[in-house]
Amino acid sequence: MAQAPKEFSVVGKRITRIDAYERVTGQAHYTGDIQLPGMLYARVLRSTVPHAKIISIDVSKAEKLPGVRAIIHHGNAQIPWSSGGHTHQRFIFNNPVRYVGDPVAAVAATDRHIAEDALKLIEVKFEKLPHVLDANEALKPDAAKITPNGNLSVGKGSFSAPIEESWGDVEKGFKEADRVFEDTYITKHVNNAQLERRVSIAKWDAGKLTVYASTQGVSNARADIAKDFNLPLSRVRVVCKYMGGGFGNKNQAQDYDYMAAMLAKVAAQPVKLEFTREDDYIGMHGRWSSEQHYKIGVKKDGTITAVSLDAVTNMGAYRKQSGNLSGTDFYQIPNFRKHIKPVHTNTVVAANYRAPAYPQSVFGFASFLDQIAHEMEVNPVDMFMRNRIQKYKSRTPFTSNHLDECITEGSKRIGWSEKWHKPGALGGAKKHGIGMALGGYPFRPGLGAATIRVNPDGTAHVLVGVTDIGTGAKTTMAIIAAEALGIPLSQIQLTNGDTDVTPYSVGESGSRTTPFTGPAVIAAAEDVRRQIFNLAAAQLKVKPEELDLRDGEVFVRATPAQKLPLARVVARAGELIGRATTNPSFKDVEGKSFAAHFAEVEVDAWTGHVTITRYVAVHDSGTIINRLPAESQIKGGVTQGIGMAFSEELIIDRLTATPINPNYRDAKVPTHLESPEIEVVFIEHYDSFGPFGGKVVGEPPITPAVATIANAIFNATGKRFKELPITPDKIVRAVRV
């Protein structure tokens, strides 16, 4: 890892994304823009019943519709979807179907309207089975069984159920407490609501499958497809150059990628499968809902002595991800126990959505801490500062931890000491309040790869497997390359997202691109610099170790006047290629980015409407590699938290088990008007464990947002809301004027 230089050339500035112009002028080719000769269009038929055996599927009428070229269903396309379910085998078409929306068939036709019409002609006979929608009901012994093993989701490793973790001795901790509190917090299923609806194009050429996917990770999508289609990796190519967001629901390959591939094989023509927004809400996944029961022991000054968490998380019909709740991660808890039951219900699947285990559990835990602070008459700022995490699981130090600075800086900027008042103390119909919460996200290293080709004219071509889901990853990697190489950013060309061309990247998920792929870019740069210095040493008649490269010029460090333009050095060799695969690990140390958020609200007691008048987000993410997208990341995460706090929820009709608001209009995704001017502050301390001292930025911002707003509402009204979303009717009922 490079040492902290006195000043960076490129890192740490506000740089417009390298592909911004293409994106805003409509020139960028997203997956949906790709047209291939002979391409067909596909649509998916979904179950209209929550739990049923498919007795028969009759596609004869659909097949006769002019323009229909292929129809697949569980009868003729038994493709496993390994990453779609980890506790019992999930296929792209399942029998029995386990939720309203479970795919039953897919049609490819010469245009999308014919494909849609064909769906209506497919006749499916269902034999209904009993179903269960509620997580607590699903745990009862007589509940409808969704998997052979019942509804408590059982698997291996990170999918074992229940999720259990503990350290210290909680019973002892509760005895040491001056007071012990218990309460329950409830959160709902919220869709990722990424702007780009998913789309996949599949094409076969002589036994090789190419998938143009709207995916967060071309490498892991390729691995999934190769595994489930029983193909060698060399015969699978996944491409994603431009992508319109996913927030965790486009990682790896998904069932619609497989359907497109299967339809393309049957029809012997390329197939583009497109989701409507409704498909996206129902057919994919959102954040798992939860019921969190906390028992917390505290001393008189608010110091936590013990925490016990019992929870149920609703994973929907299939167990695609962990179902964990990790909101306690940001606190120093000497005695801890958690027991979480991930549960199956016959509903839309829940899986990863930006910081999957955090915003819902930070809402629960930070709200409860704020409540306890109130009852113990401790100021929330002191409560959070006193209990902030200092060592991971009480024993392992962090690579860097400036959470205390985040709290101090944020409380100063929001004007905490001037503005804070006893909760609900201010009268009137428009009630003012302020609140705060802590957040962050794990930062750890892993496998990454990069190739850098330096051209004879001194420009460079960086090849990385990143897809850039809106994080600006392409620009971040280019900046890291420019800084590590010593050439201007304008001389860098970046190629991304093609498994035939670019090397491995873990993909944009888990905030892992910068810590995983960043070091690989640096190592690849160092590799090609060595080659450059070996060549230049001969030309300048010095030893290679005496040389440096900056701003595209190779020079002797001791006597900078002795220099050569990079082009002069490389031209002799033709082209130089630097490459690296890196896989560092942390030993005896843990990494985390930290954050403290503060909000000021005005609650209208008559209408229940909440206006956020100020929002301050303070983040410890080490060196900020590129300020502009980093700030946007923070603002985006906060806005998602606003939606989750106030309005977003997937509502399922209890009579028919059918989602009734699977779209932006009715799931109440927030608009610009819901969000205030968000003030972003970075507490920057170089963390030597990250590329150029940087930690992670992607997921931390959403984690404290919901709790911050909920705590501000409590301060304004004196009423604690323990169930999301905090809609106007709930506020009005609680705050009768």
Binding site: T48, V100, H113, E116, D117, T276, T607, H609, F646, S647, I651, D653, R654, L655, T656, T658, I660, N661, R665, D666, K668, P670, T671, H672, L673, E674, T727, P728, D729
Partner: protein, 275 residues
Amino acid sequence: MKTFENIDAKSVKEAVALLQKFHQQKKSASVVGGGSEYLQLMKDHVVEPDYVINLKTIPGLDYIKEERGGVRIGALAKLADIEEHPVIREKLVILSDAAGVAASPQIRNAGTIAGNICQRPFCWYFRSSSFNCLRKGGQVCYTVTGDGRFHAILGGGPSYIVHPSDTAPALVALGAQIKTAGPAGEKTLPLEKFFVLPSVDYKRENILNPGEIVSEIYVPIPKPGSKGFYHKVRERLAWDHAIVAIATMVESAGGVVRDARVVMGGVAPIPWRGK
């Protein structure tokens, strides 16, 4: 989406004649103004017309004219134009306010006053192709057994939709009149009488019969000393229908209230006159 044919009408007479012809041929046909609402209905499979009759190609239907103590507004006048028109802002301010909080800026630039008044309910069961509800010809109003949190608290039954328009309550508070064109000629009636309660007919929201379209809104200018108010309460500050909306007009002279109208939106299947 089902295949359909688009016909660009050149006059109101032609549009009416076409509607009547297709109705007699038992084909489904609709007129389209701005289209933002109609396109949604088509994509949600609430309507599947054989013919779509485009009204935007009829010249001069988007007028806003002050004459004879009132303002005449053509059916295709856009919400954005109504919001910003100087006469409406000055003399019919609650209409300007209501038009200004409808939907979103993009929709207001394309949406018409007639379309806004005639818009179909945004009940999530009605708009979902997964539910063949009572209003669409099915057996059941799903809000009764399901989630009716945004539905009618007044005047509902057997269907519990709420009328989603912002301009309609404001116009009723202003005592507006609506003119329709049809096979039998033109008809003018108070806007208040345009809307239909589900207890009367749960398959329709207004009195338009096949072949009839809205051609004009006429709003009398309130007497001097009148004051009005339009307020919309909603969850999201843009692109959201009212949880409840209030349009009021109070006419007073010499400190005495002569006439007052309070009309509620978002709470009943029709703009609800408080009495």
